[in-house]
């Protein structure tokens, strides 16, 4: 489990991703003024995935006007290892409407410019929302895995029943016994049965 205790401004590792020098320095300055000293700016998009792993930031800050948002999204989809909370900042006149984005849990955390007094709140919220969402996703993943495992056990039982003329209970007992003998999960044994049977087809 990641450490979810709120860190202080001084210890929080913040990564700014922006190729635009001007925009990146405005973000950096704003964060430093708000007391964040552990700030890294990445202006190179090359090898971004590797760099995120190396820097291991607690939160990534990106300007909403930066088209590289799509690059980050895809990376997070591809790899859990680089997935990090994102805080987004924007200087727009329609920011009042953007508050709705936060409420809707869109995953973007936006504030009216980089007002010093709001930076901490936004970064903290980005991180806590991220962990809450991640927890949900993990629960969903494990629920899905449990369902997949049940399905594979059902299929293995079916194969045994058909090929060895067993009852359902006997098929299940056989799978369980094999799993205990080999010190494996029952779903793993079931998977081998299904694989083996497909080879004999």
């Amino acid at each position: 489990m990641p450490d979810v205790r709120p860190k202080t401004e001084a210890s929080l590792r913040v990564l700014i991703v922006d190729q635009n020098v001007m925009r990146a320095s405005i973000l950096e300055e704003g964060l430093r003024e708000a007391g964040y000293h552990n700030v890294t700016v990445l202006r190179e998009m090359h090898n971004l995935m590797r760099r995120i792993v190396d820097i291991d930031p607690d939160v990534i800050v990106i300007d909403l006007e930066n088209p590289n948002r799509d690059v980050l999204e895809q990376m997070f989809q591809v790899s859990r290892v680089v997935r990090r909370p994102i805080a987004m900042f924007v200087d727009r006149s329609d920011t009042d409407m953007i508050v709705a984005a936060v409420d809707a849990g869109v995953g973007s955390y936006v504030v009216d410019g980089l007002k010093k007094e709001r930076v901490k709140a936004v970064l903290d919220m980005a991180i806590s929302r991220f962990h809450a969402f991640n927890k949900l996703r993990e629960e969903l993943d494990s629920a899905r895995q449990a369902l997949d495992e049940r399905k594979i056990v059902e299929r293995a039982k079916g194969i045994l029943m058909k090929q060895r003329g067993m009852s359902e209970e006997a098929a299940y007992a056989l799978l369980r016994k094999a799993a205990m003998n080999e010190n494996r999960r029952i779903s793993e044994v079931a998977q081998s049965v299904v694989t083996a049977s497909s080879l004999f087809k």
């Binding site: 190729q19 090359h46 088209p67 690059v71 895809q74 995953g107």
Partner: protein, 387 residues
Amino acid sequence: MSDVTTVVGFIPLMDCAPLAVAVEKGFAAGEGLDLRLVRETSWANIRDRVVVGHFDAAHMLGPMAIASTLGIGHLKVPMAAPLSLGLGGNAITVSLRVWDLMMAEGAALSAGPRALGEALRKVVRARERANKPPFTFAMVYPFSAHNYELRYWLAASGIDPDRDVRLVVIPPPLLVDAMREGQIDGFCVGEPWNSVAVSVGVGCIALPTTAIWKQSPEKVLGCRLEWTQRYPDRVQALVRSLYKAALWCEQPENHSELARLLAEPRFVGAPAEILLRGLSNRLCLQRGEEVERLDGFYLPASHAATFPWVSHALWFYSQMVRWGQVAFDPEHVAQVRATYRPDLYRLALDKTTNVPSADTKLDELFDGVRFDSDDLPGYLAALPSCS
């Protein structure tokens, strides 16, 4: 109706043309619509702002609307696509270095997807034998026609898009620089970015994606389902004005004016003469070469280009399943079908035009595999399987 403003987001690409024209040439006003366009910088922003209601509708990647309805990769918010924003308009561009290697393996400009795929496969295999890192190809978003077209062509050519090459996302305006700096070896994107790469001499257009799939689907007008239910009149007015704007966009006598309009920084912000290439179906494939006529490269209106075929939505879904973005689920099929809305299209246009009476059609891509949207598992089984 015009006392309320309808806000529509768009990404600076050639195929935002009907939206720009609907406002600038008065088609929206003619339908009593006060249409305000907002230029956006990333697809994720487009999606988020439609989801939370900043935008009433948007110039949206077809697969993005479907992913949102199904809740893949993000929040589950049902979308409705009452209109398609044209067909085609994309191409696959490779760096000059890769093109030289492909030519050494027998590739030639306009040789078609089979021959070019064969040449690329040989280059990829030679690299593998030499223990060189795989090529990096870019596309613009995981849920996009660009991603699926590129993957389709690679896989049909015997190149596994997940193992034999590296696929990354890079936003359209940054692609040409990334290619110039050698970060990427090829990309699949909409115009004008292929033509920009050619004109500055960093890339060569290997394939318009219409060579992979003639009259292939692209973007849609994407709205929250709930918005379409709340404002049926505005949906109809929007569909009618974009339909008329799309007809205007396709007229050859309007192409120069349209190119100049889109060239403005508030729309696409690329040179008018470059935009004109895609708009007029005359691409220059490599710097210094003659311009080629590619009929049907970009169709804003004709061939029912604005009709939201349900079979197009189902093809996108089939590719999401094929590439592991989502596991096939029969329950998804109904939700995917319900995302593209030919019924809303007909409601807006039936009296004035020839609207297709079917919601689906059979399609066939360049490799001859037929797509029957009623049999997704059968279709997926017929495609070459990769890792």
